[in-house]
Symmetry: C2
Subunit: 373 residues, 2 copies
């Protein structure tokens, strides 16, 4: 196998009820994982799905890589969140069936989280389930969106409200794709990396702090390390709870208020900025419950260093009612994810309505200042 | 529990990788299974999905039954095959999320096979999977469509090409709903009953023959027996192979050419008539392979007694190319289901192209006469 280059591929597995997802991470992963891909795809028919901007950047290299396996038709998908609609699923399904896609075929997703969410869901429902592999091209997709088997599309009323748990055969994440990203997209990845480390892994959290300068500078070796490390931490958790009925909820840290802010702003706020905002808010629930203040100071400091844009001012009543509609609502109550120390968090806390309203007022009053703690 | 009436409920289970489906069959099943339903649904929020004609016939009785469990909002779905579209899935999902559907909620499908195909699929993808129960109101749905966990919707290019394996919590099949059906709908059920018995169960096949007069007359006790017996036979098979990777293909008997005829006719031929046509054709593959002639004579005689309308004349080239597009195509070859004796069939036979063309010519030439054997 040609994975004997200067740095090795990082490989790890998600074992789930219906099989195994192989993760192949690192610089030049596309070239170096060639042998592993050929084994995994073993003569099956492939269909590549990607958006025009991504195809322009990486399409030829990916086709060259896959062409050792088979000739590969390409279906273009819309760029960004617009891809995640049932109408797009329908158009792509019509096209792929016309092209002869079979239950034994494999869809290949090339792009960011929107593309893998869409293509994974298409794979989940086409002929009642075909296999797929994810080639995530953004940092956010490499360390979060394409990892863990959640796929789905949006409704008008709620994002990701229609979907499936359908882990891919493989996630191939080439870190050499990352330096082409705009800074904003890198920061979206950093937000989820900080979130995952904060709730799951104290040593990863400390390592991110220590290597933060290199990460912010976009050093490809540092980004390669981050993508593999965070994805691996997420995989460990998801192995316990693929279908999100228990501790996987830890990954919703920052997402309860984050989703509400996205909804209230009509999705004009980026997901990364919204989740960072949601994480910051949780300090107002965590500190009164005895969370470690120095950990929270470290966490807030990392978020500060990202220099994310300040979200628009939101009405607390709108945020509270959006929280109530969030799909994580379980049997009528909202459960908050609250980290107390690095890698130690609870995902089962319900917050009384009056406390929530007060905490939100405090948070909104303190926005833009450093007086929040 | 109030299931101690003059005849008992028939109960059986489908055990599948993600749980158990309870089947509750019989006359007055809606009333008599009340206690079982309350146990199964156990305080969960219910949403009833049904079409206007079915709601007019059975809506009030079902609501009365379910209201002992909870108050139940109703979402109306289009009648018939028109329901099975992703655009309908999207509209219903928007409405249910607006109404507060949660991952712990249960969708209740009331109607024929189109409704259960749609609602089961909606349940499979809403919030990445919610539970559902099927109340099938047609014979075809009670003995086939609502049994076995296949759900899905249509594309323009192919029926059921988008879907999921998502068995319901329960199938409640009340035989008292069946006498309201038009004769044509009963016959569609008889076609699938004959098909299932022919490939799975010699004694069921003989029993259907023996009780065929009562069945044709629409006797509710006979229909109750048929629905429960055929569904139970199907469940035994599906338990071995929920995801249709092996012997479940036996249930495709008659469907290879049947689906092709439906496609070629622009779906102007009923599914029952198309499958009966497809079963008749298979004699031309079975007899040359040594199948039992007296069994085939019995099978054809049962189909004759249904008095199904004769499908329009189809061009053999159109049929052959439609067969090639059929989604059961596996790695480039079509596998035919061929019964040799009652309850004994093969599902792995590939037929050489020249033989297939010759058999189809013979079949089409003999249509409308009794000279086929």
């Amino acid at each position: 196998m040609p994975d004997d280059g200067p740095t090795d591929l990082t490989e790890f597995e998600l074992v789930h009820p219906r099989g195994i997802t192989r993760h192949l991470y690192g610089r030049s992963a596309l070239i170096r994982a060639q042998g592993r891909l050929e084994e995994l795809l073993n003569q099956r028919r492939l269909f590549l799905l990607s958006s025009r901007p991504v195809l322009e950047l990486h399409g030829q290299a990916v086709l060259d890589g896959l062409s050792r396996v088979a000739s590969v038709p390409i279906a273009e998908v819309p760029d960004g969140e617009a891809a995640k609609r049932l109408s797009v699923v329908e158009q792509l399904a019509e096209r792929l069936v016309r092209w002869g896609v079979e239950r034994s075929s494999v869809l290949v997703s090339l792009g960011g989280g929107s593309v893998s969410d869409l293509v994974g869901f298409l794979a989940a429902v086409l002929h009642r389930g075909v296999s797929w592999v994810a080639f995530p091209t953004t940092l956010l997709a490499q360390l979060d969106a394409a990892v863990g088997g959640k796929t789905g599309v949006d409704l008008d009323i709620a994002k990701n409200a229609v979907g499936a748990f359908h882990p891919p055969l493989a996630v191939l994440a080439d870190a050499d794709w990352l330096p082409t990203l705009p800074a904003l997209e890198l920061r979206a990845g950093f937000v989820e990396a900080i979130k995952t480390a904060a709730v799951l892994d104290a040593s990863l959290f400390a390592a991110i702090e220590a290597r933060f300068d290199g990460l912010l500078s976009g050093d490809p070796d540092e980004l390669a390390w981050l993508a593999a490390s965070v994805a691996r931490a997420k995989v460990s958790l998801v192995t316990e709870d693929l279908e999100d009925r228990g501790p996987r909820a830890l990954l919703n840290f920052g997402h309860t208020l984050g989703h509400a802010l996205e909804a209230v702003s009509g999705f004009s706020v980026s997901h990364g900025a919204a989740v960072a905002y949601g994480m910051r808010f949780v300090q107002h629930l965590a500190i009164p419950r005895g969370a470690d203040r120095s950990f929270w100071a470290r966490l807030l400091s990392l978020l500060d260093r990202l220099g994310l844009p300040e979200p628009p001012v939101a009405d607390p009543r709108d945020l509270l009612s959006a929280i109530g509609r969030d799909k994580k609502v379980h049997a009528g109550s909202v459960r908050w994810v609250i980290p107390f120390r690095p890698g130690e968090a609870s995902w089962t806390i319900t917050v009384p309505e009056p406390e929530l309203e007060r905490a939100l007022s405090d948070f909104l009053a303190a926005r833009g200042t450093n007086a929040a703690l």
